[in-house]
Symmetry: C2
Subunit: 95 residues, 2 copies
Amino acid sequence: MTLKDLDPLLHSQLRLGVMSLLMSVESAEFTFLKEKTNSTAGNLSVQLDKLSEAGYITIEKTFKGKKPLTTCKITKHGLKAFEEYVNTLKQYIGK
Amino acid sequence: MTLKDLDPLLHSQLRLGVMSLLMSVESAEFTFLKEKTNSTAGNLSVQLDKLSEAGYITIEKTFKGKKPLTTCKITKHGLKAFEEYVNTLKQYIGK
DNA sequence: ATAAAATAGTTTATAAAATAAACCAAAAAT
DNA sequence: ATTTTTGGTTTATTTTATAAACTATTTTAT
């Protein structure tokens, strides 16, 4: 039996971290994700766009008072992909 | 609490696959690893070198009859790294 | 009131990684 | 005897991740 491919979109520390965080909250702000994942704003911005492009998350840009506010949510499709990724991973790390 | 970093050497599908396979066998031949991981020889060759460089595996080059034979084994250091990687990963995938 | 610094990001450039393509030597098959 | 296959390595290309530079607004300090 040959090893199954891991979803390359999820097999990235930062994107996986973001998805992991979004799994357990209703929604999360850019700054929250930045802190929790310990990433730079630039890198996070790029990776969020990729997740959004894939339809794994939605990104909403509004304002908190007068400051820009970016809010992210996992989509149903993203949730499914995450779960499948975890399943596949079990093949690699053993249960 | 902030997410811990994943060992970048192991957070690669092919290298993780190799390590995963080496976890459960005494040793493995190049061709075996190539088949199981569904990789090209070139890519596998490069990634094996990296694992070897890091001291995660040993590579022994001999001959089977008259054909070259490359045999890989996980090291104690590699085993520890793999286990730590799996542990860290749990932070990301829950459980 | 004004300059400096902080917030909340985006865009672009650079470095690193993964993958593919080209190559090599020997052996086996036609 | 030449073509194909096996078992790889090396080099080139593409992709990805990361860092650096930039923008716009806002807050703080002078």
